[in-house]
């Protein structure tokens, strides 16, 4: 069935259709509406039509952690946040480290998923950081990249070998830079964490690791993506490395763009994250990094948990927040704050993301591309409460909040999904 969506403003940075006012969808693809006869016409009522967002770091929790979330529940939540593609982390239970695991994720996604799911798998068997995974077979099975997640390599030497092997097969790796010596701690080593007497995490934990990782990436020539950078120093290092010509990309989480260490003063466990929220200076440097292109992607790092995981004093709670349901609304929030324009953040979750996961036909509203898009009323608003919450993860700071923007509908491969 073909449709023409009219009376819209297409926002798709870099696309020739950017700024135009109607689009056709036929056979799952964007098409020139003038070529369509007998199409159903949809009045967009002056809403924005944007490419479906691609969220490159999402914990879907399946297999093994279904009490925290399932592919069905979390992809449904994703669509509500304007996300039409998710890259799934491999840190499930067991971890994704075999072609069978990858196929399981893809089959579950096909059977019960509400959006596209791109799997990743571990660089090492069992995530142990010791033995290399069957990287070629994992990519054959459908992985868009290989990662080590929050699990450390057992040594820099093993990391070097993993990167070298991936490089020789043309596989992109995702690295969470961390120095094991400085790892741990539940709050940034600054005024707030010190005052609350929490165990502290020094920014050195990230920057020492990043320095070593950059050397290994340079030495091996692997194509690397650095995930979840949180400090101004990291932004500077990556900017320098890119200027030097290294083939690297990086991402920042939405929470690190929105919040600083100040968010933990009330000990709200929803702000207990794997990478602690850092200073306001760091937050502003991360935003500047997105603006100047040093930071390529914004990710949600969506981490749903069951209620009990957060029902404890702050340091004893599990880490992460459930955020995917508010992604596009939070991008609008950053725009309204005057901190990051919607067009810039949108590129970081559409066209840039499509490049990083090598799905170049996604992430832009363009004739011939798969029709993944979101109809967004920028003047509407979305109110979040526990009753209408879709994610299985109740660990969200969004409850009780009203954010700008309302998703009026989404299309994935031309299939309409009502809000």
């Amino acid at each position: 069935m073909s449709v023409i969506i009219q009376n819209i403003q297409i926002i798709s940075p870099g696309s020739p259709l950017h700024g135009t006012t109607e689009i056709g969808i036929n056979n799952g693809e964007f098409v020139n509406p003038t070529t369509l006869a007998d199409a159903t016409e949809i009045n967009g009522n002056s809403a924005w039509l944007v490419p479906g967002l691609i969220d490159c770091r999402v914990n879907l929790r399946e297999p093994g952690l279904e009490h925290k979330g399932t592919i069905a529940s979390e992809t449904r939540a994703a669509v509500a946040g304007g996300v039409t593609s998710v890259v799934a982390t491999p840190t499930t239970d067991p971890v994704v480290d075999s072609p069978a695991d990858v196929r399981l994720v893809l089959e579950r996604a096909k059977a019960s998923g509400h959006c596209r799911v791109f799997p990743t798998a571990m660089l090492t068997q069992g995530g142990s950081g010791n033995h290399l995974s069957e990287m070629a077979a994992l990519v054959d099975a459908g992985c868009v990249a290989l990662a080590q997640g929050n699990r450390p390599f057992n040594s820099r030497k093993i990391e070097f070998n993993a990167l070298k092997y991936a490089q020789s097969l043309g596989i992109r790796v995702i690295l969470d830079s961390e120095s094991r010596d400085f790892a741990g701690g539940c709050a940034h080593a600054g005024q707030i964490g010190t005052g609350l007497g929490l165990s502290l995490n020094s920014p050195l934990s990230e920057t020492l690791g990043l320095g070593a990782d950059l050397e290994l990436v340079e030495a091996t020539g692997v194509s690397a993506h650095f995930s979840r950078i949180t400090t101004k120093t990291s932004v500077d290092r990556i900017r320098e490395a890119k200027a030097k010509g290294l083939q690297i990309t990086c991402d920042v989480t939405l929470s690190h763009l929105l919040y600083s260490e100040q968010a933990i003063v009330n000990l709200d466990p929803n702000f207990h994250l794997e990478r602690p929220l850092r200073t306001e200076d760091d937050r502003l440097a991360l935003i500047a990094g997105v603006v100047d292109g040093t930071i390529d992607l914004i990710v949600s790092d969506h981490s749903p948990h069951e209620t009990g995981a957060k029902l404890a004093p702050f340091p004893e709670t599990e880490k992460g927040m459930s955020l995917i349901e508010g992604v596009i609304q939070l991008l609008l929030t950053l725009d309204q704050r005057g901190e990051l324009s919607f067009e810039q953040s949108l590129a970081a979750m559409t066209s840039n993301a499509a490049q990083v996961i090598n799905q170049k036909e996604l992430g832009a509203v363009q004739y011939g591309n798969p029709a993944d898009c979101v109809l967004l009323d920028p003047n509407g608003s979305t109110t979040y409460n526990q009753e209408q919450w879709l994610s299985a993860g109740t660990n969200s700071p969004l409850f009780g909040q009203t954010l700008p923007g309302r998703v009026m509908g989404s299309w994935i491969h031309g299939q309409h999904i009502a809000p």
Binding site: G197, L311, P313, P315, E316
Partner: protein, 324 residues
């Protein structure tokens, strides 16, 4: 007021829990110290028994090892005629996998009136105060490296008794401030009382890097830091600071920061020396100072009972006075 500190006050500013000294106004601290003094006899010893909390149940919830603090809370509750139940949680439900939340709900069902909480996680008493049934008071008896407000109050009481209003005093805190809930709470308490000169003395590995915003001056050389202070507070040095490579040895710490008679002479003539106990002789403090006339360490212990009586009486009267 922002932060978890707001949990401990009623909208009209009365104390319903005692969780932290951060943000406690001078008027409330003064009221607590004045009340504590009424529980001391003319000889300076705590009164033996008053019927203020007759029929009330105080539950000591100790998730972390403690002998002294627990004992003084016990004595304080008994002297107020309360019934006291002490739960050593390390050996009970927590080790059977029950969560703190479920433990709390079970104890509430047993009709407690006041919880005294010690926990190794910073913020645990806030978690409890935030979820406890109305009318139950929560007193923080030490949470992680975060806060130990009754210790800070007994320190302020001791300072005020010996040296007068903290608003006119210089106070030096010596040793491991970084891992000390006692130091954090005392700094907030001193600030609340308007103390104009708070100093931190110790090596870089044992001092938090962010003390400046609290108005605390940092000294690495004890000879500079002690100059003309009225009060010297020594902190206990834990053995594990050596194994985690923050210090080379106890001997080196004593040589650099141990309180000796000659160092004490750098402070004002009649300066007092305090220590939350238990003291390590020859590590934080020399024998002659520990046993000398300027040490008020045992007076701190006595005041601790009176302060805990005052905190229990005030929080329970706020919680239950308006409802009974």
């Amino acid at each position: 007021m922002h932060g978890p500190a707001a949990l401990q006050l009623t909208p009209d500013g009365r104390l319903k829990h005692l969780l932290t000294t951060e943000g406690l106004p001078k008027s409330l601290i003064t009221e607590l110290l004045d009340t504590a003094e009424t529980f001391l006899s003319s000889q300076g010893q705590p009164v033996k028994k008053v019927p203020l909390l007759r029929g009330k149940t105080v539950v000591n919830l100790f998730f972390e090892n403690s002998t002294r603090t627990r004992t003084t809370f016990d004595i304080a509750a008994h002297r107020l005629s309360a019934d006291v139940v002490t739960l050593d949680i390390r050996t009970s439900s927590a080790s059977k996998g029950e969560t703190l939340f479920d433990t709390l709900k079970n104890l509430e069902a047993m009709q407690a009136d006041l919880f005294v909480v010690r926990h190794s996680a910073g913020g645990a008493p806030f978690f409890i105060a935030d979820r406890v049934t109305p009318n139950i008071a929560v007193i923080n008896a030490g949470d992680g490296t975060h806060a130990h407000p009754t210790q800070a109050l007994l320190d302020l009481m001791t300072i005020r008794k010996h040296k007068g209003d903290p608003a006119n005093l210089s106070v030096a805190i010596v040793g491991d401030l970084k891992h000390s809930r006692v130091a954090r709470s005392l700094i907030h308490g001193l600030r609340g009382m308007g103390c104009p000169d708070i100093r931190a003395i110790g090596p870089g590995t044992l001092l938090p890097s962010d003390l400046g915003h609290l108005g605390v001056r940092t000294f690495h050389a004890i000879e500079d830091g002690l100059k003309d202070v009225d009060v010297v507070v020594l902190l206990r040095l834990q053995k594990e600071r050596m194994s985690s490579a923050l210090l080379p040895s106890e001997r080196e710490f004593f040589n650099l920061y141990g309180m000796t008679e000659s160092r004490l002479r750098l402070a004002k003539d009649n300066a007092i020396v305090m220590h939350p106990g238990p003291i390590n002789r020859g590590v934080e403090i020399a024998n002659e100072v520990a046993d000398g006339p300027q040490a008020v360490i045992l007076d701190q212990v006595t005041n601790g009972i009176a302060i805990r009586m005052a905190v229990m009486a005030m929080t329970l009267s706020t919680q239950q006075g308006s409802h009974s």
